[in-house]
Structure formats: C-alpha cells, structure tokens
Subunit: 546 residues, 2 copies
C-alpha cells in the first residue's frame, strides 16, 4: 500500500540537545536532514558519545535518497560516518560543511566510497518529490544554512541553528529575503531552533566577541591562550584578526583544530595573512607579548590541551605567570563543574583567566526570544514545531509563538520519534516510533543500555567486593578459605580489616546454605558491610566445584 501523505519524524534533537536528525518521507522517497552526536550526560558513565537511533531508517532503507547537512558542528555532522557505513546515500551540504565532513571521513578511512555534493546557500536541489532550497543563516560557524523544503503537501521550513546577526564575522547576514519569499509562497510548518527560547532579548552579535578580544589583547602583557571548539571557525577568524591587529603570531594546537583550520583556509572560509601562523615550537621561543596560542579544551575535559595545561601535565608547554587564558565557548550543560575547576587551576598556575561569566568572550550562535519571534514573523507559518532543544526550551518557544499570534493548537511540541502526518494542509501527530539512546563506547556501538549504566553507577557508588569459594564437587563442602578482595569500596587498610571479618560469616553461610548459595553469600556480605559502614558495594561471587 502506498503512503501518500507527508511524514516528518524527528529522530534526534527534539527533547534533548544534540544528535540532531530529521526525516522527511513522501511516497517512496525519504530524505534525512543532519546526523549529529550528543555529548553524554554525567550519569552516562564511560560513554564516548550518543548517536541517533537508525532503527526506523533501517525499515526505510530503500527509500532514503540522501542526507542534507545544515552546518558543520558535531551535533549536526558527528554521526555521519556511522550513518554512511549503513546508508551509503549522497550527502548534500555547503562547501565548508562538506570540508568538515571530509576531515572526519578521512580520519576514519571512509573518504573513498562516499558521494559528497556541494550545494551553496541560495541554490536548490530536487530529490524525488522534494525541492530543497538552501538559505544562508548566521551561526557560530560560517556557511550554515536553513532549508525550505517544498513538498507535495506544502512548504516546510527547517531553520537549522541560526541567529540574526547584523555584523557577523564573515559579513554575511541571514537571508531575510528568502525567508520573506517563503512566507509569500506560504509556509505550512516552521521547524525552528529553540535552544535559547528561555533567553530574553536578542542574541548578541559575534561583533561583541571581537570587541571583547580587542580589550583582552590590549591589556594582556604576556602570552594569550584562547581555548574554543575546533569547529568554531568564526572564532578562529576573530582570534586571527585580533592577533594581526596586535602584531602577534598565532599557533594552533591539537589535531582537530589544526586539521579544521587547514581545511577552512584552503576553502577560503578563513583568512590568515602570510607570516601570521607559526608552529608551536616557534611560538614558545618568541617574546611572550607576540604570541597567541589557540587550542581546544574549553569544556574542561581533563585530557584536552587546556585541561592538561591547568593541571600542569601538558607535555609540550606550561602555563607561565602572566599568561592570559581566554575560554571562548559556551559551557555545555553538565560540564560547569569541570570548566570551573579548570579555570580555578589555571588561576592557581598563575594565569589571568577570562571567561564568559566575566567578559563577553563568547556569544551564543542560537537565536534568543526576539530572534525566534522575528523568524516567526518573517516566515508566517501555519504550524510551528520547536526543535533542537530540551522540553523546557520547546515549551518556552511555544509561548513565544503564541505571543506572535499562532494558535496554541498549531504549535506542536513533540519529542523524538513523534510522527507528524501532513495531509491537506493539516498537521497531525500520528503515533510514536520507539527511539533508543544509542551509546558509543570504544569501538562498539549500541550494545550498552540502561542495565549496564545501572551496573556502572552501582560500581561507581561504593565499589566492588569479590568473593571466591572452592566447593567439593561431590558434597558441596567448602575447600580451603574463601578468597575475598575489594576495589574502590574502602581505603586499603580499613578494607583489609573488614574483609578479614567477612571470612567467618561466609564460611558459615556455605555450611548452612539452603537454596541458592551465590545469593546467600551475597546477602551475608552485603548485610555485614552495610551494618558496619552503611555502604553498599556491588558483591560478586565466583565458585569452583573441584
């Protein structure tokens, strides 16, 4: 049976921030928009990242005709290698976006068998029943686009990450004309960034960061170290501009940052005057007042360059008294503690540290309440679907939309997996497909779930106690003594003492056990430990029948 209505299904990014992915289906054609990763939350122990759930896509494998990427940030491109290894369909994006994807695929040895197709902002493509207009938007990375997706059921506008910046770093404002053109054609639904829906006013221009950099550079007497994301290409340009203006050389440290800078410069999205960029070795030998070092680690990651500088464990160089360190990126929720701890340690190392809380060295790339209302007025959608946010952001975006005159029932606050059916100019939520949290841990993807997270959480709370008993294979009697060891449960001497006291009760338990011996030993050990310490370690028992 043919499905003749339009289906829009968010597969990531609605309800939690990151791993963005949106699916558009009509007849036998499906297109995917964005394919990002999400940072693990603090209770996702040991997880490297989270990617979108491809389960539903697998059931639509033959229909998928392409993946369109709106811009080159990790939460929109991070999972592309996982996606392409299952669904080798053409990728569409602007030159810089594809450049960043190329860097990523090259690193994974996947660059040869993929079809990367450059579409510039202002251009459009046709994929089956879909005609997709790419329109330029301002964001904290150049060459970002939103999409106008003309479907047989009407025009859907998906904003991508955007803000209205009248003085962007690349002097390329959001394409207002195209947005107005869309509204003339009639927008059936606007799917728009609501990340900053709780922030009043307008998001400040990137120009503010240039001004803050100007102030920092004017006052710094020693070296300037700027930490940011490797993909914040606009921020790199601002650092280069400030370095040039203040006769400093700049060097980039960290593989991802070096690779991205190289690529962006080659594609002319980054202008570095000859002689400005130097190697780290040169930078370390230059007079301190002539140096800018740009690196990653603004999230306080202990293994990052800034993290290691803060703890004095960076191999190549150290913080020197008189250094000015600038953290020029937002703190991802959940990382506050790590970021502040890094800042404190940098102060302890003798640096002066400038960060968002005390100077505007970062501005958001996402539109605030007034930006969102402007987008609504420019596009005049019939339906509004807040996206790219937690539930609280989308709920707030709903209020904003209602303030601009959109009736409550035309605002659809939905989460990942909700199926939006569009037919005859009407949008309805028609069910929910299951969406799992797909964990990447090491080289394995998707094997871990809530059970293993719970096990890891248990282990992390009170450590582990291990009991081994040898039993006579015929009469089940204990042979020798039980062996009892622990890890992370108590300090070594205290642990030794309590483990020694466990021996006798365990021997008694084996002697008197009815039923499940393993469970009985676990109960004995847990009870005694809890009684003495009020701790609750994981207890594991191994048994040999000899």
């Amino acid at each position: 049976m043919k499905e003749t209505n339009l289906k829009i299904i968010p597969l990531g990014g609605l309800g939690e921030v990151g791993r963005n992915m949106m699916l558009y289906e009509y007849d036998d054609t499906a297109i995917v928009v964005d394919c990002g990763t999400m940072f693990p939350e603090n209770d996702m122990l040991g997880i490297d990242c989270i990617i979108p759930d491809f389960q539903y896509l697998r059931s639509r494998k033959d229909k998928i005709r392409g993946v369109i990427i709106t811009h080159g940030h990790e939460d929109h491109i991070g999972a592309i290698s996982y996606f392409l290894s299952e669904f080798n369909v053409p990728v569409y994006g602007t030159p810089l976006t594809l450049g960043l994807i190329k860097v990523k695929l090259t690193r994974r040895g996947m660059i040869n068998n993929v079809s990367l197709n450059t579409i510039r902002a202002g251009e459009s493509i046709r994929i089956g029943p879909f005609k997709v207009d790419f329109f330029h938007v301002c964001h904290s990375i150049p060459d970002s686009v939103g999409l106008g997706i003309e479907t047989p059921e009407g025009l859907i506008v998906q904003s991508g990450d955007y803000k209205f910046d009248h003085t962007p770093v690349d002097n390329w404002p959001t394409d207002y004309a195209k947005l107005v053109e869309f509204s003339r054609r009639g927008v059936l639904a606007l799917i728009a960034d609501s990340t900053n829906a709780t922030r009043p006013g307008w998001t400040p221009s990137e120009q503010n960061v240039s001004e803050a950099f100007e102030k920092v550079f004017s006052q710094a007497k020693g070296r300037i170290i700027i930490a940011s994301f490797a993909s914040l290409i606009s921020r790199v340009q601002q650092a280069v501009n400030a370095a040039v203006a203040h006769r400093r050389k700049i060097c980039f440290v960290g593989t991802s940052m070096v690779e991205n800078v190289e690529m962006a410069e080659k594609l002319n999205y980054l202008t570095i005057p000859p002689g400005t960029m130097v190697s780290l070795n040169t930078a370390l030998e230059l007079p301190e007042e002539e140096v800018v070092i740009m690196c990653t680690g603004a999230q306080g990651e202990p293994a990052s360059i800034l993290g290691r500088l803060a703890r004095g464990t960076q191999r190549q160089f150290d913080i020197r008294r008189g250094d000015t360190v600038v953290l020029s990126s937002k703190t991802i929720p959940g990382n506050e503690e790590a970021v502040f701890s890094t800042i404190n340690d940098l102060f302890r190392q003798g640096a002066n540290v400038i960060y968002e809380e005390i100077a505007p060295v970062h501005v958001s790339g996402h539109g605030s309440q007034e930006d969102i209302k402007l987008l609504l007025h420019l596009t005049k959608p019939k339906y509004f679907i807040p996206a790219y946010g937690e539930v609280r952001h989308m709920m707030q975006a709903k209020l904003l939309a209602m303030q601009t005159g959109i009736p409550e029932k035309h605002v659809l606050v939905i989460e990942d997996g909700a199926v939006i059916n569009i037919k005859n100019g009407k949008a309805k939520i028609g069910g929910q497909i299951p969406i799992n949290t797909i964990f990447v841990d090491g080289s394995w993807v998707g094997d871990l779930g809530p059970d293993e997270m719970r096990d890891r959480a248990m282990l992390s709370q009170d450590g582990i106690v291990l009991v081994h008993v040898n039993l006579h294979k015929e009469n089940g009697e204990l042979m020798g003594k039980p062996e009892i060891i622990s890890r992370g449960f108590a300090a070594s001497q205290e642990a030794q003492e309590i483990l020694a006291r466990l021996e006798k009760p365990v021997i008694e338990t084996v002697k008197n056990s009815n039923g499940n011996l393993e469970k009985n030993i676990i109960r004995t050990v847990k009870n005694l430990i809890y009684k003495e310490t009020r701790r609750n370690p994981t207890v594991l028992v191994t048994m040999s029948n000899l």
Copy 2:
C-alpha cells in the same frame, strides 16, 4: 614556647565552596567559626558529603574554647555533629541558628551533652583574649550574623554570608551602623564573602521573589508546588505570605522541611496564620486552586520529593496536569544537568514549571560586586581576605578591592590551610598546613582518598571483568577452566561472547607465564578486550592454590 601573635587559618571554604570553617588562635586560646559541609562534586563518586579536616584542630585540642556559627545553612552548620563528637566545646549562635543545630543534633541523638549558647545579633561575648561582636546581616535565612572579632592585635571583621537587602523578608536590614562603628575603631582585616564576586551590580532584594511569587500565584489555575531548600526559612515565609494572600492552604512535605518549619515557627522566625497550614492528606483533597505544597528537591536529587514527582515515583501523590511547579533555589554548580532533567520531566508530566532562568523566583543570598564594594567602603579594612569562594571568585574579589583603593599587597588571596600571622598591625602568610578532603560515605568518615576515587572512576567507566583460576599447589598447573565473569562492561550477550573467547588466551597465559601470573593474566585480558572493543574495564584476578 608561647606564641604571642595572632593566627588566622581557614580550614574550609577558601578555594572551594562549602564546608566553611575558620580558626582564630592567640596564646592558649583558639576559637572556631562555622563548621559546614560541602556537596560532593560529580567526580567524587558515591560520596555523601565533605566535611572540614579536623587534623590541625586535634593538635590544638586543649586550646579550643568554642565554636561560633554565623547562620544555619548546611555549608556553615552541616559538620557540627562530627565536630562536637571530637571537640565538646560551647557552641555560640543566634536563636534560629541554634534551633537548626538542635534539629540536627536531636536527629543524631547528640542533643544531651552539648552546650548551646544563645547570642543575639548586637550582643557580644568574650572568649579569652577575643571579644566577639555579633552583627546582623541579610542573607537568605533569618538571624544571620557577621562577626567583629577584637583581638590583641586588632579588629578582624568576618562577614559571614551576606548581602545588602533594603527590603528583606523579615524587615531587618544589615547592621550598617555596626559596620561603620568597626571602621571607626579601625578594621585590621576584613574576611568577606566573595561567592558572587563575578556578578556585576547589586544582588536583588528578596522582595523580587515575593513579586515573582505574586505573579505565579495570580496566574496559576491548579495546585502550586514550590521546591526549595529546607533551610531557606525566608523563602518558606514568602510562600506562606503568598498562600495567605491568594487564599490557599499550604502543606510542607519532607522530614527536614517539616522539622525546620516547626522549629522556626516556635521561635517566631516564621509566621503562619492559624488554619493556613494543612496536612498533605487534606491538601490532596482540597480543590486544586486552594493548595500550595512546599517540598525539597530543587537540586534535582532523584531521591527527593520533587525528583520522584518528576519521574512519577512519589509514593503519596503525583503531578497533575495544570500543576504549577516553582523551583525556588539556586542550582548548585554541578547539579545543572539533574535540575534541568527534573524540569523537563515535570513538563512531560503536564506541569507548568517556573525556574530561575525564566522568572526571578530565586535571588541569591550573597552580595554581588557592588555589595562587596559597599562592605569594603563601610568597614575600610587595612587588609582584605576574600572568602567562601572558588579561586576564580576570590581573584575577582581582589580586583574589586583594588578598585576601592586597597593596595594589591594588602589583598590576601589564600586557600584553605594558609596560616595568616598578624603582628604589629601587619598580616603575613606564614606557611601552609595540609588540608585533606574528608569524605563522608555511609557511616565511615575520612577513610576514602584519591586512590579509591580513582578505582571507582575506573569501575564506572568500563565496568569490571573478573577472572578466577585454580592452580595445582605443587606444580602451579591450571586445574579446570578459568572462570570469567563481568559487570557493566558490555551488554550481556556481547559480554558472554567476548568472555568465552578469553578462556583460551587465559589458559595459554597460565601455561606460559613467567614471573607475576596475576599481572600476566590481567595484561592478556586487557589487551584482548581493548583490541576487540576499545574498552578498558578493570580486571581483577583471584587464584586458588589447591
């Protein structure tokens, strides 16, 4: 040998936030100010709280003549029971502060053998060479004081937590006159709250919260549920006032909140008109528009009442569609993710959620930059010692002090354990005593350290694999097969498969092992697992010689 100079030693609260404790020593007398707990950071796995390090106090045990508490928040009173069980000295505090301490000591069965001495704001006490003036300050709990400590070497002012609020809930402003009197007498050193030194302007008045509550109460159609800290007694009064004004009944849920409310009302720090307070059972039966429920859990703690409401696991009642939930407290750094996740879940349950980011339903109790500058101008200290903050806060407070004209060398940015020697009107840093992070986990205090934290972190990252081998006690040959189990390392089926593949290499390792068999087995297992999965679980080996 007699020490005749004055020593001030911060034992907690300088360099990291919480577990406040300050020691003043002169000749054979020492007094302790405050005795608080600190919330564990996210990487302090399984830890309940952190208390001050009493090691130095133990060496001064005979000198300690009393402990003075500035106010009743946990970061100033939380460790009092641990302290009093080692140092049974008189406690001095204002009536409400002692009331909160009594609640705490009663719960621990320690109320009988302690000496609690009421000193009201405006009064003073003499302890050996120290004369201590208690002066009233505004904070987010009533009956807070700062201290003017007259010593033979001069007057030291310790602010306690404070802000300048011209319209506090209890209409009792900070004691400006006393501060000016101090400056007339000459303040040798001001030790002052710098928690909010990075915030520009003035900290808003508690009045702002009353206005925000007024707005919330005017608009709410269903029940109103307010979550806060159990010790935010001023906030409780504001909730009561709003309830009365809007003809709602209020009920308190949660042991600590109920106990504190009862005590504060008895001491007249809380005014609840007769008939206003109802039981939860009554509240659940009243019409929704006549109910306010006040509870704890504004930090997103999963086990708290609000946490369980958000997840739908509260035993006594559920969130209903139309409920308005107000989170009226600051988010402690590190808890952002838990708080936002709670907010999202409350929205998912159908509540409208009001929190600090979208409405001023909380204001800080700590002075901002202008408050700090005013305190400096009122007291005119010779030396300034920023306190109660992370390093970044204290560094910022230093800049503020310098702006008010204090020379850089008279601002002492120090961390816990620094010994300030004061003699002949000069303050010098004279060394550093070691300060450990004292973890409370269960009923044991202080046994855990960095090693155990590292073990727990390792366990939490990739779980554990356990290998048991039985060896012939004479020739060391393997008897039977190795037993290999895991927890939290991989999903069960995948783990089974990989553990099965480990059997042969482990057998080979036993056969060919030279040197330390345990280490060799660990290396074999780790290498194979890492090669296949890029994961790095903890590997533990037990061996029986039979």
